[in-house]
Symmetry: C2
Subunit: 458 residues, 2 copies
Amino acid sequence: MTDTEVKPEGEEFSPFQLAARLARNDVADSVEVINQLSPEDAAATIELLPNDIAIEILDKPELHFGAEIIQALPRKHATVLLSGMSADVAADTVQQLEEPARSEMLAALDEATRATITGLLSYPENTAGSMMTTEFVSAPSNWTVAQTLEHIRQVERTRETVYAIYVLDPVTRRLIGAVTLRRLISGESTASILTLVPTTGPVTTSPLVDREDVARLISKYDLLAVPVVDRGGHVLGIVTVDDIIDTIIEESTEDVQKFGGMEATESAYLQVGLGEMIRKRGVWLCLLFVSEMLTASAMQYFESELEKAIVLTLFIPLIMSSGGNSGSQATSLLIRSLALRDVALGDWWRVAIRELPTGIILGVMLGVIGVVRIVVWQKLGLYDYGEHWVLVAVTVAAALVGVVTFGSVAGSMLPFALQRVGFDPASASAPFVATLVDVTGLMIYFTVALLILRGSLL
Amino acid sequence: MTDTEVKPEGEEFSPFQLAARLARNDVADSVEVINQLSPEDAAATIELLPNDIAIEILDKPELHFGAEIIQALPRKHATVLLSGMSADVAADTVQQLEEPARSEMLAALDEATRATITGLLSYPENTAGSMMTTEFVSAPSNWTVAQTLEHIRQVERTRETVYAIYVLDPVTRRLIGAVTLRRLISGESTASILTLVPTTGPVTTSPLVDREDVARLISKYDLLAVPVVDRGGHVLGIVTVDDIIDTIIEESTEDVQKFGGMEATESAYLQVGLGEMIRKRGVWLCLLFVSEMLTASAMQYFESELEKAIVLTLFIPLIMSSGGNSGSQATSLLIRSLALRDVALGDWWRVAIRELPTGIILGVMLGVIGVVRIVVWQKLGLYDYGEHWVLVAVTVAAALVGVVTFGSVAGSMLPFALQRVGFDPASASAPFVATLVDVTGLMIYFTVALLILRGSLL
C-alpha cells in the first residue's frame, strides 16, 4: 500500500519522474521518500510539485531537511511556500535558516505572515508558545450554530484543525469556552453557539508552559487541541494533538538517552556526525570517570587491609555492581513516576520508607546467594577462601545487604533531589547512580570487613 | 480551575456530597478524585451519580479501579453501566473481573453487547484488536453528504469519534475509504459521499498488529483514528488517537523500567505492593548477581597476579565502570533508534563501524585522564604506585581503550542481537550491559597487564 522507494534499482535520479509520482502519493509517504534524498535533489523535486502538495510536504514535522530545502529553492518560490505552511512549522523552519537567507526570507514575506512568525519565534524552545499554531477557528458568542458552521466551511482549508471552535466574547474577544465540531453539527441551526459551550469551563494553557505539561493536559482531558491564552484570557494559538504525539515521543527518547548517561541527540543515530557523537557522550563519560576515580582513592586508603586479605578483592566487582544494579532499578522507577506525576515531590518520604524494606529484602536475597556460592566452592574444593572462609562469607553477605539497601534508597532519592534543585529528574542516569553507589559501596564493604574480620584476617 | 481534592481536611467522607460535586466537575478531574478513594467508597459514589456521568467516568482509561468498582456495584446497576461504556474499555474491565463475577456479568448483558465484548476479548493483549472500539461511524458509498451528516447527528452520542467516517461498499460492506468530518461539512449537500474519498486509499491496520506499530501509523499519518480491517477488507473497529497517546506513554514507561533492569510494573509506584515490587526487581537482580559472579571467578583465576601486584586492584572499579558506562550509553542510543525505526535490523554493520572509532576515541580520552591522574599523584607524592609506575600507567590507559571500545561496540550490538532472536531490544538493560562488560573488562585488564608488565611487576 505504501510506496516509499526513491527509484527502481540502478536508474538515474530524475526529479521530474519523482515529482510526478509524489503528486499521487500520500503526503506521509512522500516525506519518507524526500528524506532519502540530498537537500539539493529534494529541493529540485519540491520545485516541480504543485504548490499545495509542496506545502503539505513541508508542513510535516517528520521532514528532515525542511530548512535546507527552503534555502535551496529560488527565493520567490520559497516565500510562497513559507506563507502557505502552518505558522508553527514555518516559524521552526525560519529559525533553522542560516543568515543572510533568514533575514531576506522574513523581509520578503507579507506583513501578516511575518508578524505571526516573529511572534512565535519570540517564545522559548519547548514551550506551548513555541509549539502553537495561530491557525484555529474562533467564533463570537452571539453567532448561531448555522453561522458558525458556514464560517468553518469558508475557512476550513486554511486552519490546522477545525474540530474545536473557540467561542469568544464579541466585545473583549476573551475566550468563553470551546465547542467541539461534533457538538456543533448535532446542534439546532438557529440556536446560539453559546448554548453548546460546556459549563465546566475551557481547559487552557499559557504560552510559557513546558511542552511536557501541555502533553499531560491533552492526554488527561482527551483533547484534540488545547488553546494557549494570555493573561487577559485571549487565545494566542492552539497546540494540536499531532504535535503532542511528536513531543511525547521526543521526550521519551531524551529520557532514555539521558538515563543511559549521555546528552540527548536531536537527529537519528545515523545522521549524527562522529564529532557530535563524541561530544555528547564524551563529556558525561569523562565526568563520570573523574568521579569514579574516588574508588581508586578509597582502595588506596584501605591498601593495607587489601594486602592482608587479597580474598576480599575477589568480591569487589560483585558487591559494587549489585549496588549499582539496585540503584538503577530504583532510579528508573522514580524517574518515570515523577514524569507521569504518579508521585509528587512531597512524596519523597513515602518512597523512602518503601525503598528501605525493599532494599533490605533484596539485599538479603543476594546475600543468601553469595553465601551459598562461597560455601559450595569451599566445600567442593573449587577454591580455597582460607581458614576464615566462614567469616569471609558473613562479610560478603552483610556488605551486600548494606550496599543494596543503600543503592535502592539513594537511587530512589536522587531523582527527587535533582527535581528539587531544578534539574530534570531524568538526568539521574544509570551510570551516575552506579558511580555514586560504587564509591559508597566500597566504603561499606571495607567497613563491614573491618568490623567482622578484625582480629582474624585483618 | 481544576477541583481534585477529595474532601476538606478533617471532614468525614460522604458519598452523597462527593457525588453532588462530581456531577458538576469535568470528567477527567472526577477520575482523579475517584482514584484517591478506596474501591468501596468509589463504588458508593458512582452508584449515586446519574448513569451518563458514571459511564463517562468508567470510560476513562486513567481510572485505577474500574473493575473493582463494577464488581462492588449491585449486579443490575453494573450491567447497565457496562452496556453504556465504550466497547474497548468495557472489554478491558470485564477481563479484569474475578470469577464468578465475570461470567455472571457477561451473562446479564444483552446479546449484542456480550458478542462485541467477547469478540474483543478474543484478541491477544497489546494488539490493535484488543485496543479497538467498535463504536465508529460508517456510511454506504451511495449516500449523499447530507444523508451522511444526518446519520452522524443521530448516532453521535453513541460513537467514540465521529471525525472520521468510513465509507463502505453498499453490497459487500468492504471499506472503500475514509472521509474526515471537516471534508464532509465543506462538501456539497447533494454530492455523493464517494466524491470526498481521497484517491490515495485508506490507511488501515489488522487486528493482530502490535499496538506500537499502530501508534507509529497514527503518528506518521497524523490520524485521529485508524480502522482495523479483516482480510476481506471489512472494518472490525477503530483505534483512536486518545488510546494511542496512552499506549505511547505506557510503552515508554516500560522501556525506561526495562532499561533500568527490572520487569515493567503496570500500576503507579505507590500502588504496587511490596511483594510485587520485590518480585519484579528481585528476579532480575538475582539473575544479574549470578552472572556477575563470573567476575569473582575471573579474579580467582588471576589470583597469583593480584598477589604480586596489589597496585593493579586499585584500578579495577574504575576500569570496569568505564566499560559499563560506555556500554549503557551505546545501548540507550540504539534501543531508541530501533524503537523509532531510525535504524533497521540490517543496519547493524553500519552501527558497528561507527561505534568502533567512537569507542576508540572515547577510550583514548579516558586513558589520557587516567595517565594524568597517576602521574600527578606519583609526582606530588600523594601515592606511590611502585618503581614500575610508568608501566602501570600505560597498562591502565591501554586497558581503558580496550574496555571502552568493547563496551561501545558490545552495548550497541546487544539490542540488535535481542531483536534478531525475537526479544524486545529494551530488555538490554543498563545493568545487563554492565554485567556483560564487567566480566570482559576484567579479562581485558588482566590480559593487557600480563602483556605489559610481564618481567617487571608480574
